[in-house]
Symmetry: C2
Subunit: 315 residues, 2 copies
């Protein structure tokens, strides 16, 4: 299977420059002295999540005629806003298929970037998206299962290597695996001595199991849906699992309580709003399983319902 | 009266480099299209507020023998942690006088940076600080009434000018006035066409009145204490008022409801935790009094009690 290379990631960095925020690496003086801590806050992206990197790169990599026909995506989460935002930067049409039960605030945010939102029934979204591709001639932008998306997310790894070349540990949330595949690929090339560690909720730890048994495993969606980390309920594709197997040194799982505590700690000590999925890397950092040394956590996103964030803050 | 110059601010930037975070200027795509918006998030500093710039510069500017005797400060707020942090970076002693009623979490945070906290009764803090200066030989670091503190805060203006040289409006919270004096001085020199606008809560609008009448006015502390923006209850000194009169184009006042709404908007759209005092510039941005054009808001700090932040989030 064709793997994404550091050259692909460098090309992605050239494409997204000026349109996607180059996030700072923020030193957190309140970390454990044995594990000096830096935060990579992808929550500061215009759409509140790293997804904009992959979406923008995938659209930028299209040839002009193809791109002009617009794009299609299905997502109830951060990928929806990311594709809508990237399409708006290119001035092209975006059709985003979202389940009818998607919270209004997410539908509104996607529409605010100029996208056409098409609501659909449960289990219908892939069929509806396929119809839109046929009708509009647009290109489907997948949330993780595409080399250009992986390469886009990998630009985070490029930036970590530039800002902290002697990093020793990088902790990355794992869901569909595009983020960890991209960052891991960049770090393997640029910081070969750094440990690249994935993080999953215990309640959606399919990749932890898959890495143990050496092949992908399927956890029922009703099981994965139990975690508060609603962005981490996907499973790797063949393409991303093939990357993860090669680039991850380890995968740490964290409890629901650890995730809530980490989100609270990020708000009160780093003054960054993290959605539960975005806080798992700090939860893993607080785990005794994490090695010593200079550590970067990837805060993948900050889109959280206000009532849930309020509940997390008061503990 | 001797005013701080752009050369003082450049010297401060050299002194604080590497010890104080050079914060990014974050484009906020969700701003008003007629007023493209950027956020300067000083909440990302290690102590959660801009105060570390002035404190660090004031300590760095001391001669080695004087600095070695340590520093003293009195504060119940962000200045306490800022001086404690800066002293810890220099490896010198810090004695911080705090009122007995200071929330435990702030006392603990100050101690975490290695400072000795001296609790005192109401109205006692200046006397206790003076005694500590005599006893320890340490230097008093004031929160705003000092040229080196103003020059340190001014480095924010230097960074804004570097990152967005064609900025048209900059909105800055005003309390004791050190922040706005410093930033305004930098912008007058580097971006002479930018409008520099102070922001105060309506309930602590002594500087708005002072600028109208042309001299400092004294609002009773019980009046100023009514605002939720607990970091904006101080009043300018002669030194800072003299700067403000020269560098501010205008001063906008905002209501308590506007401040809460702005803090909520920063959390949900920018994914940044702002204390109420840190949110007033966004409140002013949302006011019809604000001119059009490329606008920077200074988010001055993010240290907020979790229960209050939770209350703000659920509206």
């Amino acid at each position: 299977m064709q793997q994404v290379t550091i050259e692909d990631i460098r090309a992605a960095a050239d494409r997204i420059r000026g349109s996607v925020l180059r996030t700072p690496l923020i030193p957190a003086g309140w970390g454990d002295p044995e594990r000096p801590l830096w935060i990579k806050p992808e929550s500061l992206q215009a759409v509140g999540a790293f997804k904009v990197r992959g979406a923008f790169n995938a659209i930028a990599a299209l040839d002009d005629d193809t791109r002009a026909r617009g794009v299609v995506a299905y997502s109830s989460g951060n990928h929806a806003q990311a594709v809508a935002y990237a399409a708006s930067r290119w001035g092209i049409a975006a059709h985003i298929v979202m389940p009818e039960e998607t919270p209004n605030v997410k539908v509104a945010a996607t529409r605010e970037w100029g996208a056409t939102v098409v609501l659909c029934g449960a289990g219908e979204r892939e069929r509806v998206a396929a119809r839109l591709v046929t009708e509009t001639g647009g290109v489907l932008i997948p949330p993780f299962d595409h080399p250009d998306v992986i390469a886009g997310q990998g630009t985070i790894g490029l930036e970590i290597a530039e800002d902290l070349p002697d990093v020793e540990t990088v902790l990355i949330p794992v869901s569909g695996g595009g983020l960890a595949s991209g960052i891991g690929t960049a770090l393997r090339a640029l910081c070969p001595r750094a440990r690249v560690i994935g993080v999953e909720p215990e309640l959606a730890a399919d990749t932890a199991e898959a890495l143990r048994v050496g092949h992908r495993v399927d956890w029922p969606i009703q099981d994965r849906n139990r975690t508060i980390a609603d962005g981490l309920r996907s499973q790797p594709s063949e393409l991303t699992f093939d990357h993860l197997r090669r680039v991850l040194d380890d995968l740490i799982t964290v409890s629901e309580n650890d995730i809530r505590a980490a989100s609270r700690e990020l708000a009160l000590r780093a003054h960054l709003v993290a959605e539960p999925s975005g806080a798992v890397a700090l939860a893993a950092y607080r785990s005794t399983a994490t090695p010593r040394g200079r550590t970067v956590i990837v805060l993948s996103g900050g889109n959280v319902e206000p009532a849930l964030m309020a509940e997390i803050l008061v503990g």
